[in-house]
Amino acid sequence: MKTIYFNKFYKSFNILSGILIIASLVFLVFKGLNFGVDFKGGTLIELRTDKSSANITKIRDSFNQMNLGDVSVKNFGNETDFVVKFEKQNSNDPQFIEEIKTKLSSSIGSVDFRRVENVGPKVSAELLRSGVIAVALSLAAMLLYIWIRFEWQFSLGAILALFHDVIITLGVFSVFSLEINLSIVAAVLTIVGYSMNDTVVIFDRVRENLRKYSDVKIFELTNISINETLSRTIITSVTTLLALLSIFIFGGEILKGFSLAMILGVIFGTYSSIYIANPVLVSLKVSQRTIVKEEKE
């Protein structure tokens, strides 16, 4: 196969990644994330209407009249399905949901509540905390694993690639105000695993090549390693993306956010394994001595 000179573009892509990370951080800090009821508390109702009466403004109006706090109504999948979210949660009152249903059907005709989620402020705060802990813990665990398996230069490269993927994925969610719920946390953790997986495969090859060629500079050596593992990188990304696209398109509305986060993560993860992890090795001047020294110790 023809060699592709990935290393020619290390600098330009690093600048691009830098810009993307800064932009993501700016969005995350100033715009923030669109937390769903899992993390913000409140009530979510997924409802299905009779075909004739489906109308997003009408539904929003009748919900606004019920004093439920901030109400958001979105179309969900097909034109008769809607997701309504509002601040008020009153799971203690057994009639709460029933009353909403009665009021709603009197104004827009018969409705079916397909899903109701009601999360109190205490629980949502706990869920958010455990979500953050889970992500932090997984990053720490990856760091530990890679630190045991590789030299520190490699660990740094892999971890920077991880942060890159997680930050940019969350950045995209912030830019488009996509909802962050429990399943997004699961997606982020899986992205962490996948991105690490991808980086490790290339790093394993870099290390092997470092032993093999003593006279090749790390700048070329990373490129050789990327090329040698390239067809694997492509095939695995393609099959994973095929599976994820299938979930995204056919898996129903509930899995849309989850699969989208994963798709983004796989794309960024593949990119970062090449363009973040490897340049780190180059700038840290990794050479045969780096690994030989460690092995002698």
Binding site: V116, V123, A141, L182, L189, G251, I254, L255
Partner: protein
């Protein structure tokens, strides 16, 4: 790496077949309980309600302190120590002790064998911690004392919740402790949790108290409002009878008034108490109080001595049934608050299953087609490994009766996408090896050997993520971590035992062929 003993081949085959059997048993009806296992569907797939209840322990703590005060009074009286000015304030008991006995009281409270302030050896803690200032003592629950109290009230509450849920008769409810003040209730197949919620939301403290004519009574009085909010009444604080003495309650029709009522029967102690009170109280009105609200207050026309009575109060048949149920199941030790609720209708559950299966099939077909296009014959081997991987994965989930959720299905699909990675790593490595090696058996062998650490590294990282998710995630997300984690293990098995077996067989047969892969 390419050599397999006959025994190995045999055991791989048997293992795969047995596990696959459980996969298939999901789709067939076998009457034998022992061999027929089904994967459990999560609430998001079969529809149902998930309720998280938190017990409000404040009243229990106050109650316990009150009874502790009585204990203290009696205890010190027996010991001939004068104590006075008992106050319960800010979850602590405060009292004064006569000057000469301060040291005595201290040692009584601090003793490891203290009768009044039990010491728990294994936790190195008394039930109460105390402070002493001059003659004044202040006691409050120690951390462990509080845990003990919370645990016992939670245990009681769970029992009552279970009785109430069972009485409603939903199929296979799941009622679990969460921490030391929460109860998780899962109600599969329940479309509308309104009734259960209203049943669990009531403490169901039933008391019978006389309506007081004068506000000066020895026990004191309190003002309570009627259930329907129509009016208020002054009620004596003396409790004639409480729900504890109730043996049974059921909704019935009163023939004379054609009204739905709840009729109850009392145990022997209760019947005696009730008989005595009603004999003395003929002509008075007896209020029936539930959770601080008066249901009704009929006039006592004659003594009720048989231990049977009726509660009237504008009931519908449904509300009478519910009240009877509450009375039968007993009172909760403390109020329960519903702090999280998730309900999925059966329709949505079915739609989710269909969508999940649809995307699994499509994802699977796409991956299989792509692998065949890329590797031809070896693509088929990888695909065979993928199919057995799926069978093993679902089989193991079934065998351990894991709960399959919608994110869990996503985990299976993701496994399909990522599982081929290991075979791809191996095949690519073999291709490289074949460039410099003429002996194809050697090339295949070293292809497997050299890719092994990479494959392990790559899979361990994903496994770490899955394990963390398993411990941190809840409900549906846990389902995802289970399928993802088990999927990694079955992937490694199918790659190293099944795909390698077939590869080895093929390569040894065709070792002289050009361009093997």
């Amino acid at each position: 790496m390419l050599y397999f003993s006959k025994l190995r081949v045999f055991s791989v085959l048997i293992f795969t077949l047995i596990i696959s059997y459980f996969t298939i048993s999901n789709f067939t009806k076998i009457d034998d309980d022992y061999f027929s296992k089904n994967i459990k569907l999560g609430l998001d797939l079969q529809g149902g309600s998930y309720l998280l209840l938190e017990i409000d322990n404040e009243p229990v703590i106050t109650q316990r302190l009150q009874s502790k005060v009585l204990e203290f009074k009696k205890f010190f009286k027996d010991k001939d120590i004068k104590v006075r000015n008992f106050v319960i304030e800010d979850k602590s008991i405060i009292f004064d002790v006569e000057n000469s006995k301060i040291e005595d009281v201290k040692s009584l409270l601090d003793d490891d064998k203290s009768e009044i302030n039990p010491y728990f050896q294994q936790y190195k803690s008394h039930q109460f911690n105390f402070e002493n200032m001059n003659t004044s003592f202040k006691l409050e629950f120690s951390d462990y004392g509080l845990v003990l109290l919370k645990n016992s009230s939670l245990d009681q509450a769970i029992e009552i919740v279970r009785r109430r849920v069972d009485e409603v008769g939903t199929n296979e409810p799941n009622i679990l402790k969460r921490g030391n003040d929460r109860i998780l209730v899962e109600l599969p197949g329940l479309d509308d949790p309104g009734r259960i919620k209203s049943l669990l939301g009531k403490t169901a403290n039933l008391t019978f108290q006389f309506i007081s004519s004068s506000s000066e009574e020895s026990f004191g009085t309190e003002k309570l409002s009627f259930e329907d909010g129509s009016s208020e009444a002054i009620v004596s604080k003396r409790i004639v009878l409480s729900g504890d003495n109730l043996m049974d309650a059921k909704p019935t029709m009163n023939n004379q008034t054609n009204e739905t009522v709840v009729s109850f029967s009392l145990d022997r102690v209760g019947a005696k108490k009730f008989g005595k009170a009603t004999s003395n109280g003929v002509g008075k009105r007896l209020a029936i109080v539930l959770d601080g609200k008066i249901i009704s207050a009929p006039e006592v026309r004659e003594p009720i001595i048989g231990g049977n009575g009726q509660i009237s109060g504008n009931f519908t048949f449904q509300s009478a049934t519910d009240l009877a149920l509450l009375l039968r199941s007993g009172a909760l030790p403390a109020p329960l608050n519903i702090i999280e609720e998730r309900t999925v209708g059966p329709d949505l559950g079915k739609d989710s299953i269909n969508a999940g299966i649809m995307s699994l099939i499509i994802g699977f077909v796409l991956v299989v087609a792509f692998m065949f296009y890329k590797y031809r014959f070896f693509g088929l081997i990888a695909n065979l490994a993928l199919i057995s991987n799926l069978f093993l994965l679902v089989g193991i989930l079934t065998l351990f009766e894991a709960t399959l959720t919608l994110p869990g299905i996503a985990g299976i699909i993701l496994t399909v996408g990522m599982a081929v990675d290991a075979n791809v790593l191996i095949f690519e490595r073999i291709k490289e090896e074949l460039k410099n090696e003429n002996n194809s058996i050697v090339a295949f062998d070293s292809g497997y050997t050299k890719s092994r650490t990479t494959i392990l590294d790559a899979n361990i990282t994903t496994l770490i993520a899955a394990v963390i998710l398993f411990f941190m995630g809840s409900g549906p997300i846990k389902g995802f971590s289970v399928t993802l984690g088990v999927g990694i293990l079955t992937t490694l098995f199918s790659v190293y035992f099944i795909a390698r077996l077939i590869t080895a067989y093929y390569v040894i047969k065709n070792k002289h062929k050009e361009k093997l892969i």
